[in-house]
Symmetry: D2
Subunit: 363 residues, 4 copies
């Protein structure tokens, strides 16, 4: 089944395995006239790049995205934009030892069941490396969104019981604070507490989950379609397509179970010429369409399955075995950190698509 | 934008407004050879039907679904199955008074912004009535899933601070207990406490949110596609398309933020001839594909926006107004209750699609 | 497989069998703000209605389309437009005699092979009756196209060796002349010759094929997308989805095999402020996109398979049999005649979709 | 609009411009377990490669396709197969002289109208070079079709008034004869006559159109879906997406206009255990689904727009100009020749998709 594409009009198709020759993305449906360069893409790729922080895995390569088509004289032409990122630092030999083991918490078992085979080298297609293609495409989407002054920021909101209170600053400053932090958390006190917890978790070879929050400002009201192409639904679909995601909340989220309508109903008022709501329990979406208030949502990421603690398992023949992470394997103690950039990218892609879909709303 | 359809191969298109002539669904892509009758559909429609409980709105009509095409000699033929449900109890006159008001917490504002107009009668297309089409389609999907012995149950897991502990029984018994309860909760003690809270909330004209949990058993391993058509992703998309949803969690959900990989990694073992995991933090999905363990997820529903408490608002010209629910309007204090059947239906539709998609996995 | 829908943004899903309860169409993606009434739809349905001509089958029912959703206060709302047409004159008993026979030239065999069963009553889903849903949807599409002053006309261009030379009049007059003719041919001399041939063919119980030509004026340049969503490609796809089609030609068509580039290359010039070409061998499409010159194409329809001449065949068990058309069966000597309205409708639907797709071409 | 992909389940996305860095294709939805190597792809790419014949353009590069993903241990894995073909022989400087001219018969004008800009270098995305990606994907599709013993052959059937009578041999021999011919025509006498005509046409700097016929054997009955995903419809869509196509005929094609049903209705009989028809006017398709008889169709290709004869035109400012093909430009006198391989490839892709779609026909 064709299942590696996302989007209706602005549509991306990612391809590639962790230890194949290259990975990449084709963006089909980006409008003509968007200024984009390799540098724009590489700036975003650098944000998620391994090796930036003590808490992200040490794969020593600089991801370099190269635009192969769809751009002429610095502008998109309306034809597909193909971006390639070569795999350089990929030593597959160490995976031979585990090729017949079911990795606990990992997709090797389900790939095997579905396809009858599995590319065990570095996680194959299930590797988070696939998300580099999304980040590259997200860079293009962001350039398009900039035409409408739509801004996106995401950051780590919770790790290991430590919850952040992001400073009340504009999104640009928030984003800068995020990417300065080694745990991608703009609240310095929380960031320090998270780092302390992460150090302990790393020291014992374990991993931990985390929550990423995203905020979007500058959206016009009416983006998203009712019913099956809701903005909230497509954001959810986008987020839940990112590896390791376990949940999404829009606005008041699961807390709504204990909220009353008299509180949760955001009251409308005129703010000058603009219709706004006094509160934003809705997280910027009513009936699946944007209200013009900030779009706010949270995404839960499970702990990375790759840990340095041996675990019981079986091999493909059903024999009991012990799973040990191959020596020298990459090990991210908390994938939520690097996921911040991926959340931004998938948000940008979803919104670019929504803007284009919206052009057909009225005759 | 064509945004009223869901599914890749088993694809539904719902249509209709709350106060139009009828509502309905077309199922395109149901395989030939599934036994289905109007009675099967009406049995499921009856479950969500208004008037079953003191806590659901008093719309006095019996939804009756009628199959118009796609079935011959009691079996699906492979051609589209069109199901119609006529609207009978639809008095629109009372909505005239509020037709120019922005309803707090309601989609009238965003519809207006998107389409330039809004069918204000009973919520129009944004009414939960649209979900009857989903339930009808879900009845067909369930008949197909029965070929593979796949069972689905959903129930209210939390309302107004009261959390249920469902009894450890088989899914069939769990489902029966659910639909016997007036709050669709199979834990009798929790159900009583929820009912007590709901009575208080209704008495003051307010509403409350709730959480629905769903469990699926009998899934083969390998359902769902990696990357953008993950089973978890498509379940999320399905759930977040239901009106009033604010969040979804798969397996350990948002709790993962504080969990370690050494716990969250479900360990594989042989249970006779079957590969299983000792725990099921994954909620039955790894890498977006089913593991064969139960699929478990929760969906958060916000409090209904329609409450009997007046709220500040503005009209379409920006004048300050007070919004009062029209006398005689339906008023569900907790939409999560009736959503239980819709969650089951959308789960069935998503799984039917996944099974068909899976047929292309191997040459 | 979901295969009963057509279009990317303006998307129709047709449903229904010849002898089921009803047939219909759901239009998903029609923009808000298009004025449409049941009368508009029924005016177009009347054009293709049986019984208008001695050369179309005598099914004595007036197709009546009824809009069930998606229209409020006379305007489309952006939500799905469901249109239903009830089947009234459907006596299925006469088909019992042939239910186990493979009908030569008919889809009963291929349906059986694909789905394992076949609704043999009146052709089931394979009946040309399915096209009524297309005509209803086409009526909506035409109302949208009228916003842009795009006009469509189709007519019978060839039947049984008689070729028409349509008069050089405006499209509105051409269309009127077409629908006044009993063979839907605007060239009176050719129409008379066709009628004479058809009378002879009918008298011997036989059928004949035909060619329908279509012309569209008022298209802006640039409609259609390069590569796989070419305007020419989507028109071809639309036409080849109509029952009984065997070929399509755009512009100079198959004659290109003997043409030279120096002739076939339409030369550009300025006609006042407008860029035009001196000739129109391209039929209004270059690189898959409209040039602004008239879109011109021809569609070949095979002779109806239902004839009153006995034919050798086999039954589903492989025994030799003779196929006789059941007494009282409808019998169109030339389906190309009634196909004229269907060609117009599918053209309108394709163009409505192209206009909406085009809105995403530039940032 | 995302318009560079083709197929429902087996879906290709092509990308790249004639004078960009590279071109390529991503195949999403190829089942796991198909053996494929770079050599398989390059064997097919070599067939269409420029320079094989005096009648194809002299671009002196060997197209080399390289698989970047989706294949492991020689077998497809179910993940996307990305294939890249670098552009090597691309001198863009000569196109500067014509960058503001509307090329008669060429897509520069329509691209400009649609996107506001045009990559004028060598035809940009409108170049036939895009079809190399299709041929590469077709090579993969053919390997999958070989699992079912489905064979495809295409050949030049008509050029410049010369019509071929292909020898009555098996498809493998027919295909070999085709690719031995310098005009890709397996009828030696016709090939010689075509070559003589082509020499004259080339000598005067002109071009000519042509017709390609394709035959497929080994299809099971029941492939293709009724209504909008007919096998005939999808083959038409596939063919009409190839650059320069102007028409398609299935089976008896446009000749049906003069045929009677009593002839055109192919009569069923038992050939041993197999149901066959005595004639094959249907071209192997009834009701849009394969009959098991050979699939036969013809495709018309217009003369290449690039000719060495000066033509009147205008520039983008509307000034009268003369268009001269830049010195050293490639010039194919008859694009139908090289199109043979592309017709084969698009046929294979369409059939691979149909086989996968068909797996959902029955429960």
């Amino acid at each position: 089944m064709a299942s590696n594409c996302f989007g209706n009009i602005f549509r991306i198709t990612t391809w590639g395995e962790s230890h194949g020759k290259a990975i990449g993305v084709v963006i089909d449906g980006c409008p003509a006239g968007v200024a984009i360069t390799d540098d724009d893409i590489n700036a975003d790729l650098a944000l998620r790049s391994p090796g930036k922080s003590p808490f992200t895995s040490p794969r020593q390569e600089t991801d370099h995205g190269e635009i192969l088509s769809g751009v002429f004289n610095g502008l998109t032409t309306g034809t597909p934009i193909s971006i390639i990122i070569w795999n350089r630092d990929a030593d597959s030999s160490k995976y031979e030892a585990i090729k017949d083991l079911l990795r606990p918490g990992h997709a090797s078992f389900t790939y095997l069941k579905k396809y009858g085979a599995f590319d065990y080298r570095g996680g194959g297609r299930a590797s988070a490396r696939e998300t580099a293609g999304r980040v590259a495409a997200g860079a293009v989407a962001k350039k398009f969104l900039a035409h409408f002054n739509i801004r996106i920021a995401a950051y780590v909101q919770r790790i290991a019981g430590v919850e952040a209170s992001p400073p009340a600053v504009d999104l640009k400053s928030l984003r800068e604070a995020t990417y300065k932090s080694e745990v991608f958390c703009p609240d310095p006190a929380a960031a320090a507490a998270m780092a302390a917890e992460l150090t302990k978790i790393m020291d014992r070879g374990d991993s931990v989950g985390g929550v990423v929050e995203a905020v979007v400002e500058g959206l016009p009201a009416g983006l998203g379609d009712p019913v099956y192409e809701k903005l909230s639904g497509n954001i959810s679909r986008a987020m839940m397509s990112i590896p390791a995601t376990r949940g999404i909340e829009i606005g008041s989220g699961f807390a709504v179970a204990d909220l009353n309508g008299s509180t949760n109903n955001d009251v409308f008022y005129m703010d000058g010429d603009v219709i706004r709501t006094k509160t934003n329990y809705a997280g910027g979406v009513l009936g699946g369409m944007s209200t013009g208030m900030p779009l706010v949502f949270k995404v839960a990421f499970k702990p990375a399955s790759s840990i340095k603690i041996p675990l019981d398992t079986i091999d493909t023949k059903g024999n009991k075995q012990t799973f040990n992470l191959p020596a020298g394997s990459r090990h991210d103690p908390c994938v939520a950190i690097r996921a911040v950039t991926v959340v931004e990218a998938m948000t940008a892609i979803t919104l670019a698509d929504s803007i284009l879909m919206n052009r057909s709303a009225q005759a």
